[in-house]
């Protein structure tokens, strides 16, 4: 992902760098930095906004974003951090960009998103810390993968009004355009088991984004919609592919937790209930995807690998 972004930025600098104050002489050190080490997920948000500004011929906005890009690129991210949905935590203008990336392309669905208060941010941060510690012990491969894929957990408040039938209350979200970040509605996470499964869920979306560089994993047209095992609204086949693949990894995580001796009796009950539910959802997704998906080459390879690894 970082290499693809570096290539793209280099080509953009050569193509329009002089027009937007991002000439190759300024871009090259940043690109070297980008290739060398992990960067803040917000960099991808700024990149996306910059391309969009250039595509609509807004040179002033593109230039301002190029400046932001330089600042964001200089920030090195060493390890997973838990942050609030604020510009203080994410960077100037980033809350609006994150919000647009998560919610902006589907005007028919309203997703309430807000920052949390300091007490909730602290509680969520502590829960994530103890959850990662649990995974380190009970499922070290999953913990390792999580730490590679997720650099930033953005804690959000998401509560739909009871009378708003078009609003979608978010549990968690991730986007190709925020690669390395995930949004988490911490109010839905009260314990280590649900937190572990949610973190794995969103991280594995990131894995699939990385495999395909954001391209769909199926050739089915986006406007083809199917019933989803995970959501009440109708979804495109690419979403169903993601859902099914992600469910397989969530099940794997739960099985590893249950096979460890790290869970309390209450957590074992919660994990068993979640496992039964997700296995049923996985089977439903598998039927739909197998029957109707027209895989891309990468999609076929990923789906085959998932089936090989899945013995439930």
């Amino acid at each position: 992902m970082r290499d693809s972004l570096a290539v793209s930025l280099s080509e953009i600098a050569h193509a329009i760098g002089e027009e937007i104050g991002f000439p190759p002489s300024q871009a090259d050190p940043l690109i070297q930095h980008l290739r060398a080490r992990p960067v803040a997920p917000g960099l991808f948000a700024i990149y996306t906004a910059l391309v969009e500004a250039a595509l609509r011929e807004d040179a002033a906005e593109a230039a301002a974003l190029a400046k932001n890009l330089r600042h964001a690129c200089e920030k090195t991210v060493q390890s997973l951090r838990v942050v609030n949905l604020t510009d203080d935590d994410l960077g100037p203008g980033q809350v609006e960009r994150y919000r647009r990336i998560i919610t902006g392309d589907e005007p028919e669905i309203i997703i309430p998103l807000a920052q949390v208060d300091e007490a909730e941010l602290l509680r969520a941060g502590r829960l994530i810390t103890v959850t990662l510690s649990l995974l380190d012990t009970a499922a070290p491969e999953i913990a390792g993968e999580l730490r590679v894929l997720v650099r930033e957990v953005v804690i959000v408040h998401s509560a739909a009004q009871a009378d708003d039938s078009a609003a979608l209350e978010l549990d968690g979200a991730s986007s190709f355009y925020l690669w390395g970040a995930l949004l988490l509605n911490s109010a839905r996470q009260r314990g280590r088991v649900s937190m572990a499964v949610t973190l794995v869920h969103e991280a594995v979306h990131g894995l699939l984004f990385g495999m395909s560089l954001g391209a769909p994993l199926v050739e089915n047209a986006p406007e083809e919609r199917y019933l989803s095992p995970l959501r009440d609204d109708l979804r495109p086949m690419d979403g169903l592919f993601h859902a099914t693949y992600v469910l397989a990894r969530m099940i794997d995580c739960l099985q590893r937790l249950l096979h460890s001796s790290e869970l309390t009796p209450d957590e074992i009950s919660a994990a068993q209930m979640a496992l039964a539910q997700h296995q049923a959802e996985y089977e439903a997704g598998l039927v739909l995807v197998t029957a109707s998906a027209r895989f891309t080459q990468i999609g076929a390879a990923a789906f085959h690998a998932m089936r090989q690894a899945t013995v439930f």
């Binding site: 329009i16 391309v51 392309d105 669905i109 997703i111 009004q161 078009a166 978010l170 986007s175």
Partner: protein, 71 residues
């Protein structure tokens, strides 16, 4: 005589763009959103009636163009 302003979008057409379709006009495949609750109790009505959870029927066009692709 001054040069006409360079078209940024035309210049970008020859660039590799991460996550954008080949023509650079639209983004491709963005957010995955997990939700267990839509608007309190009632999800948006599907565009076709008579479906059950057992149906895998394709549904007509919801929105052409950008595939945002949440779960």
């Amino acid at each position: 005589m001054s040069q006409p302003a360079k078209s940024l979008s035309a210049a970008l057409a020859s660039c590799k763009l991460v996550g954008f379709l080949a023509n650079g006009a639209t983004k491709d495949n963005a957010a995955k959103i997990g939700s267990s609750k839509i608007g309190g109790v009632k999800p948006p009505a599907p565009p076709a009636a008579g479906l059950t959870k057992d149906s895998s029927a394709k549904i007509g066009t919801v929105k052409p163009g950008i595939n945002k692709g949440p779960l």
